[in-house]
Symmetry: C4
Subunit: 275 residues, 4 copies
């Protein structure tokens, strides 16, 4: 429907668009599945390459595979730009940016060493998996999760602000209490790191209170964290329940005007007239 390059738009490009961008046709689905497998393999190669022993033995193979995948993904990116009517619209979209970022690091590694590990950003391309399932109900479920999180956004922002101030103060108090005798609490930023580790109940144990007072204060922080962890869970649970309840409340009976019918209702449950 673009006005610019309407005339040079050929059935050939139309077909290419269907294969590359859609997953409704068998060819389009096959393309997406093949792409996903290639992304998985390419991420696996980067992961294996990072293991020193394997890299020593198969360095040439990893290099070759990485360049093969990068060249194939570059071709795919160019074909996407070619087969869409509004190339800029795609290039600026979420997946367009990801697709570009997924090929740049390998080229960059020719000039700057070490950057090629950045291609793990390709993992984000795996989110395309939902495109294949889009005919199913996975997209809907994903949207419910996103809607529940979005609806809780303001509450979570308030909560995170509160947590930020809380960990600043806990960290500083622990620095004052433990700082002198315990090398783990050698500075306030490190103490704040400890307070986040503790409040989120992760508890690495790389930094632990040693003095009696520090342990007493830590115990209070942990019990506090116990209550605090209930808040985001409560927020999100309440949203999910709202989401689960809302789909059924939209249709009103034309006869008695009452709402609150179930999704699968064909007759008004109050007066018995057809909906």
């Amino acid at each position: 429907m673009s006005r610019s390059n309407e005339k040079d738009w050929t059935p050939h490009r139309e077909r290419l668009h269907e294969i590359i961008f859609e997953a409704d046709t068998p060819a389009g689905k096959a393309f997406d599945v093949a792409l996903l497998i290639m992304i998985l393999l390419s991420v696996a190669v980067v992961m294996l390459e990072s293991i020193a022993e394997l890299n020593r033995l198969y360095h040439q193979w990893f290099l070759m595979l990485e360049w093969t995948f990068t060249i194939l993904f570059t071709l795919e990116y160019l074909l996407r730009l070619y087969s869409i009517r509004r190339p800029w619209w795609y290039a600026a979209s979420f997946f367009g940016v990801i697709d570009l970022l997924a090929i740049i690091p390998t080229y960059l590694s020719l000039f700057i060493a070490g950057t090629h590990y950045l291609i793990v950003i390709r993992a984000l391309r795996l989110l395309r998996v939902f495109r294949i399932f889009k005919l199913g109900h996975f997209m809907k479920e994903g949207f419910i999760i996103i809607k529940a999180i979005q609806a809780s956004r303001a509450k979570i922002f308030v909560f995170l602000s509160f947590i930020t101030v809380l960990v600043l103060i806990i960290g500083s108090v622990m620095y004052l209490v433990e700082g002198g005798s315990n090398p783990g609490f050698s500075s306030i930023p490190r103490s704040i790191y400890w307070s986040i580790v503790t409040l989120t109940t992760v508890g690495f144990g790389d930094i632990t209170p040693q003095t009696g007072l520090g342990q007493f204060f830590s115990a209070i922080v942990m019990i506090l964290g116990y209550a605090v962890i209930a808040v985001p869970t409560g927020i999100v649970s309440a949203e999910f329940i709202q989401q689960a309840r809302s789909p059924q409340n939209t249709q009103a009976c034309q006869y008695c005007g009452r709402e609150g019918h179930a999704d699968d209702a064909r007759y008004c449950k109050y007066c018995g007239h057809a909906l």
Copy 2:
């Protein structure tokens, strides 16, 4: 009701079936309780055998007990096959496969050393405990849990896909940040292992960030994990609440016979007849 071996079906086998497969009669219940105790003892023997000091002292006893239990379970398995009208139907069922897998490892250990520890799969046979309680409401409660999890299946799949991509990216970033100086982050797979340990708030502390930047990034990951843990809890909570609300829907329409009406419904929502 099987058509195949109807004629050679004797009251003797009928009775055996009742004892072995049902838990309604006193004899059937006694058989199931005795079986459970034997499974528990047999699992306990394997556990105790794995303790090196005990194995040195009582090796002969453990060996003898293990073979005794295995032979008894083999007899039980053969009796089950004998007393059921459709042996293949049982052999291919969930419990049939478990029952077979629970006896194979001991025989296999005659040929391949070390395999006999696989008999801990017998622990799965403990799930038979619910058969004994089946007259009570435990089965119903179990079904509610399973239904709640099944109903959340699609949401949990979407959530796990997202988590997978997330830990891939967190792991890779931590490898870039900490990899050089910290032996704990020596490869991307190890860094991904760390990111799962952190995001799930397990926090072993066998691998911990050492650099300031790594600790800062970890803090963000932990706070993220804090919010993220709320999502599956919210999903499952919402489902349980849905399940708790649905039992109201036991009323069936006398006209069309369909169920699932709301508490306050006066007319069938499918056919419009008064309830």
Copy 3:
């Protein structure tokens, strides 16, 4: 109202009963507050005594205080038996048993060394704190929590059975995977201990997987634990919501017969008649 010792029941004992057993009168409340403070002090003495340095310095003081508290609690126990009409009814009640168990260990320590630490069971007497608040709404809130947990009992039993089988299998598999090379997984019971530490997201880090396969399997266990932790939370949340919803559904309007009025409603919200 007891038939046995009605005649020798004096106003003096009646008054004693009011002070010791009730918290409605000023004297009764004062007695309960004093008792709570003494229990707290007595528990604090045991705690401080267990610190080796303090015990070396103040051993005589601790011994004296412990005997003082024990004699006072013994007197209180005897007075309780004396002032109640049915001494056996009290002696066999929850608090009666606790009260007795709280004084026995000190006397026992005359004969068997080390037993006097058992007096920490006195901490259970602190639950009396709710008696003081009983005029408030704390009792009601406590009952709501207990009711919610009781209503979830069957579900939690099913869940714990499942968890038990799960940790048996995870522990055994980890023993097979890590047992050979990692001293932390030296036996199946230790591996089961590890699997509980991991599945509950506690993650001490005293035992950690060392092999790549063990870490991969652990990662799956942790993500599983992530989903599994949502189940009891969902069960209990659903119960609390049920509890929060049910109080208001009992009263029906005498005029239109409809229910669902709020706790504080004085007029029917559907027809406007007084409730």
Copy 4:
């Protein structure tokens, strides 16, 4: 509306009040944003100063910046007192006390060494961030969180009392079980610290059970903690859901003026008049 210093109240002070205390005018908003940035910078200076290497290099700079911020905050405090009609009302308010506490430590450090770290209490001033957003819906969301927590107050108090008694008993039992052989459980207070670390699923791993009996008991404690963590989450979730349901209650009766009516109410539930 104050009666006391009404006559010496000038438009100049009125304008100052608007800038300093309100965030509705552009000048007022700019003042609040600038103040927040200064608080953030001042907290950052304290944090950086606590890092030994940085303090060695830039000690003079940190000292200068800290005094600059303290003098600016002192000026701001005096201006707040000057521009408000009821200075004592402000000085005794939550933010008034925080504002004073945020400047005292620096002056105190002239007399007593080390106290200047107490200025991290300035972090509490960051809570002013919500003043800037007050026109938005952040305040409302914050109120929902606070209301949900307040409504759960009694339940959480009961829950915390129960947890306190629980950790006292678990700690004492672990002291009896592990105390003799394990230096980590050298006293009851340390064992209680461990039991809090374990029950809250933090799991530092600085103290871990070593004996078989201790590990068995720990496993029970962890599974208990699993169930116990569900309780505060359930309490707060139920409250959030209640809060999410109550916003329907904005309609006030035109006759008696009372709010809190249900969605489907047609008559006031307090006085019976039509809504």
